[in-house]
Symmetry: C2
Subunit: 236 residues, 2 copies
DNA sequence: CATTTGCAGGTTGTGTACAAAATGAGCATG
DNA sequence: CATGCTCATTTTGTACACAACCTGCAAATG
């Protein structure tokens, strides 16, 4: 059975990552408790967990607020993520994929290629592409057989960033509304190179391409955030 | 003011990392509460935080136990740590040290060299060397100006491993009782190379040496754990 | 004899009352 | 007008009572 604390944790985490709360928003225990029809106890437990995960800031006797991540923080996180995903790609190449893994891996890449080179590019296709992108990176993580590495990468992908809409988490496919179609094409080319390198057991090449692949996404978001910051400064 | 929950968290964390509780030990809420003369509430908060940090395992309605990390887990963690510390060394070299940083850095290296090439090698000298080792790696982290990276590295160093004595955390200097003096000398040679590379702004060299430096420590611990496992199996 | 079912004991999960601390409004004072 | 103080309000921190749940054992049942 799931405890209420767990249920509240999951609901809150998803709400935050989906952008239901603005970064900087105060999370009042009583308000959340009433909203979810539980007492403050499970809410407190959930908040402490999300704080430990890095989604919230906390000040004793002052409460929890949704963490606001600065442009520099985002750049720092992307630096780490690029390195870790590069490591994962290299390990996957060095260890090699089993037959089942290989089949699934090629299926993911094939469907992505089909999507991105299709005639239309509607919202549901972009979303499907995002799912496949997650699956692609997840497959590489899984192939390393290193749970700690997979968890570390996962952490870098689930931190909310200052946003009004669209750019909810660092995981690039959540931010796709920012991208033009050429960026998808470029991203897909990277994926093809990475997949090829891994299947050919070329560890160094897989690592280098993956690293650059992530760092490019980081630069893109860094630039987008700059534009947003200027826009905010230009207000009243 | 610090809340009781924070105080309990700190005390518990230190106790676990110092080896006060065997991996696998159950942490009863009431027992801890009585032992620290607080109610169960702050104890529960502390346990949930330590669980999120990865120091504890948790099963609903069943309680918390000190996490037991397998040999493979240890190897996985060291792989990630070697990569991250390598990244830190490279960034430190690329960014460069300020005058104050550089002075402190050289002081640390100098004292370590003096210690390890001295005539005696007693317990307090080994401990001092351990402190300086922490300071050395910490200085490199700080020089990157990347808090997320520093936190990620810190996490890899604070996970307890199966042990009876000596080998409490993965941070090698906690495990020094396992090493002979030659290992310290070798470690110090690495430090000197890394320091030289960073000061000379040789990023790739700093990264490579640091990576190997950490991976060697990982292999050492992996081997030690193997010996311990055999010893355990050999018991009645 | 094996299986199950019920009970007792202990542990964790939740609700709630109260204490302690921070916040903010209003007012006095320089 | 700015500053600092007091006090009410709000929010969080803690304690504790009770409910829900797991565990082990023993007795009943087939």
């Amino acid at each position: 059975m799931v405890t209420r604390a767990e249920a509240v944790t999951r609901r809150l985490r998803e709400a935050i990552l989906a952008g239901g709360y603005e970064p900087g928003a105060r999370l009042s225990e009583v308000a959340l408790a009433e909203g979810m029809a539980v007492s403050r106890t499970p809410v407190r437990a959930a908040l402490s967990v999300l704080f430990a995960e890095g989604l919230l800031d906390y000040e004793p006797n002052c409460g929890y607020v949704v963490r606001r991540i600065s442009r520099d923080d985002a750049a720092h996180i992307y630096t780490v993520r690029a390195t870790l995903e590069g490591l994962a790609a290299r390990l996957a190449a060095e260890i090699g994929l089993g037959d089942v893994e290989r089949t699934g891996f090629e299926a993911i890449l094939g469907e992505m290629e089909q999507l991105v080179s299709g005639d239309t590019w509607e919202a549901d296709q972009r979303q499907r592409w995002g799912e496949l992108n997650i699956a692609f990176h997840g497959a590489i993580c899984a192939a390393t057989r290193n749970d700690y590495l997979a968890a570390s990468i996962q952490r870098t992908r689930t931190l909310p960033v200052l946003t009004e809409r669209g750019l909810r988490t660092f995981f690039a496919e959540q931010a796709v509304v920012w991208w033009d179609r050429a960026a998808y094409r470029r991203s897909q080319d990277d994926h093809l190179d990475i997949g090829e390198a891994i299947l050919a057991r070329q560890g160094a090449r897989a690592e280098a391409v993956m690293r650059e692949h992530i760092e490019r996404a980081g630069r893109l978001i860094h630039r987008k955030l700059a534009i947003r910051s200027e826009a905010l400064l230009a207000l009243p």
